[in-house]
Assembly symmetry: C2
Homo-oligomer: 456 residues x 2
């Protein structure tokens, strides 16, 4: 057994306490009232990195939430990797659906429950702790590692492109390892071959100056909720295919290799639906479920509101109606161009009797694919075989990690996802949790990954 | 001049103070936290009626908010009327849009601002005060009057049908005069020939058990907001006509007299739209604006909500989506049957992949028409000619006063609207007000109406 593995085993209680402390900081990046909490999370990360023995640790300002940097550069002949993760979290609403308060972590049945437990605080803490184990047991890291943690992933990393332009030397590397992402199952690892991109808009429709009496005015002017529903319905065909003109024009067809990898994955429709309580599958005809989730783009309404929403009845003809929309994109769709196409569609379909405003959201991510034979993929696959005693699936992720596309665009390096959360851990939902068994597995895995990359 | 007119003139300050006190009671019938306030308003009305000299005053319990009754029955050879009004109010939200607190009445420029000022406290107080003026100036009322004020009009008077069945003798009369309703303009009176009925449902759609990550699951299952928007869009044709099968089956065609009366009313499209800030008129083809507002039925979405509605972005695939719908009905549509038709439509259009629940709202009103030559209409028309020196319009109201249909169904008597609020007084909206000039006009008008009815 490696010496660092003994150190990891001996410090489990301390590491769990560290994770509890980290999770108790309500670092919700999307809400301005939590701005200081995101800063506090950055400071906590920096302090914990220094304690681990990582060098040159600093908290760097961006135009939004800060970035934390540190490094271990003691192997001039070996490759340099950037390890990426994020210390911000999603909001907690609907907070009344949480079993425990979301920022008061609870450990039960070898799971830790808190907002950010799986996405991404639990996962990003792992490489810091493994590094500590290696450094404190007399070693040095077998490769060069730069640590790069950010505080605005959950809002689409809007300030990172400019920040990266300003700090190119800091980010110079041979590849990026992302501690944000996930594994297939407790007993089934997966190499992540790609992620979807992201863009979106908010739609605000206004009719009359204020809410009106629906008896007096109903039937004489256009109801903005009716206009919004008609517009939103026009965005999809009845089979779920997106009906925005030009939406699929740049989508690359599913490759033979993608098809082969997806076919190799076990899929049980009943199990998939039962796990989330869905009444059935639904989506674009001619594609399998994982094809729809990974290699086909989507347009989803994330929220809608307008008029009277409280208990009882209020017979208003509402003044306003609103919706938030995001798209998941695949190569080679361009986020800005997709927003333009949606805007054009809305302008075409909106009637003159109401006013519409379309505001692109700040979040944006390029779609991303990594070559199957990339050295990083070979390294993580070999680590998976050691730890899980099983060949990994070659899968994709339907979600978006903006820095994947960003590092490829700005630094010309690929990002390899190496993270240990699972799909059922309620990320972005009430009762988010992280399996502590996977937390321990991840600690070992990062040690093995450093060695595997050093040996290539 | 009548002696009672002198009394009215002499007591204007006192009457205004009475109105202020009445308006300061937050008697919002739809919110359970205001239940005691509705009771307090009932008690205040009963006390004020006794002070006016009205006999047999009592507060009667229903299964919901109470009713206040009193009478003056001193003319055995003359007809008996019931005077109707309501002392409950609409909610005040959005309260932040009020210039003054809604239950702290403010008088400025001969207007009184408060929730309930026009609908209906200001209007229902008028006949009580006029009765006081007649009784205190040595007279007795020239006809028999029963006063009947309720506390649940704004929630559709759900307990009145049963209450009326239990108190038939109390309500026996030749006609009802409603102090709830309104006038056409400051210088233009109107005889109200009909009101629309009301029914409605709440729709709740559920997909997965909880909100999901739109990256992981987007494209694989049905989004409940998409399902709701598609459903709501299916309820109307693109020209605004309701598309629910059978919705128009029982609708009586516009009569020649209705068409003639509506044509006689001055209508300026620009003025109509500018008054409410609407971009243009919209509605069922083949009907004029007032025909659409009065003699054609509507289906309006009063509110919609689902998913993430706060600041910023949250990339969820929502678990739920909701909408509140009400219909305004015209003769001979039946509220229960229309709810059934909507329910059938929803069941037909909802896909199997999501679950839908349809809950009829408690509010319900029958559509209502009164014959043009009804003695009550002749009486109010003659009073209008005296007071306004002008012939009244023969108009209808797009709103609903449940007791109109109820008295016709249960007691076989018609209700004549005789009230002095105007359309621009922000009823059901922020900054509701009542013109004190119309308050004074109403006091005189009720005195003349009693005489006119006595002379028939």
């Amino acid at each position: 057994m490696h010496q660092w593995q003994a150190y990891l085993d001996d410090h489990q209680d301390e590491f769990l306490n560290d994770l509890r402390t980290f999770l108790s900081i309500p670092s919700v990046s999307s809400l301005s009232r939590h701005r200081n909490d995101v800063q506090q999370a950055a400071d906590w990360v920096a302090t914990r990195m220094e304690k681990a023995g990582i060098e040159a640790v600093r908290v760097l300002a961006t135009h939004g939430h800060p970035v934390v940097y540190g490094h271990c550069l003691q192997q001039p002949d070996k490759p340099t990797i950037v390890i990426y993760g994020h210390f911000d979290t999603q909001p907690v609403d609907p907070v009344e659906e949480w079993t425990h308060p979301p920022f008061d972590p609870v450990v039960t049945e070898d799971r830790i429950y808190a907002r950010g437990a799986s996405d991404d605080k639990g996962n990003m803490l792992i490489p810091i702790l493994t590094t500590e184990a290696i450094l404190k047991t007399g070693g040095k890291l077998p490769i060069n590692v730069k640590f790069f943690f950010e505080g605005q992933e959950e809002i689409g990393s809007p300030d990172l492109p400019a920040f990266m332009d300003d700090h190119k030397a800091l980010f110079a590397c041979d590849m990026v390892i992302s501690a944000d992402g996930g594994q297939w199952g407790e007993d089934q690892p997966s190499v992540i071959m790609g992620l979807r991109g992201l863009c979106g808009v908010q739609i605000d429709i206004t009719g009359a100056d204020s809410d009106l009496h629906s008896g007096t005015y109903g039937g004489t002017i256009m109801n903005p909720i009716h206009a919004l529903c008609r517009l939103l319905s026009s965005l999809h065909q009845s089979d779920g295919r997106v009906a925005v003109h030009g939406f699929y024009d740049d989508v690359l067809p599913v490759t033979d290799a993608q098809g082969r990898h997806i076919s190799a994955i076990e899929f049980d429709e009943r199990q998939y639906c039962d796990a989330i309580g869905a009444g059935g599958l639904f989506g674009e005809k001619g594609y399998s479920t994982y094809e729809r989730a990974w290699v086909r783009p989507t347009l989803e309404v994330n929220g809608i509101w307008g008029g009277f929403q409280e208990e009882g009845t209020k017979t208003v003809l509402p003044s306003q109606a609103h919706a938030k929309i995001t798209c998941r994109l695949v190569p080679n769709q361009d986020p800005d161009q997709i927003v333009d196409l949606i805007h054009t569609h809305i302008n075409k379909y909106m009637p003159d009797e109401v006013q519409v405003s379309v505001t692109p959201i700040k979040s944006k991510a390029l779609p991303y694919l990594v070559p199957e034979d990339h050295p990083g993929n070979r390294a993580v696959a070999s680590v998976y075989r050691q730890i899980y005693s099983k060949s990994p699936y070659y899968a994709q992720m339907g979600g978006s990690v903006p820095i994947c596309g960003l590092f490829l665009e700005k630094m010309k390096v690929y990002t390899i996802v190496f993270a240990f959360g699972l799909n059922d851990e309620n990320i972005h939902a009430p009762d988010e949790f992280f399996r502590l068994g996977n937390f321990r597995k991840g600690l070992t895995a990062y040690g093995l990954l450093f060695e595997s990359l050093a040996g290539q």
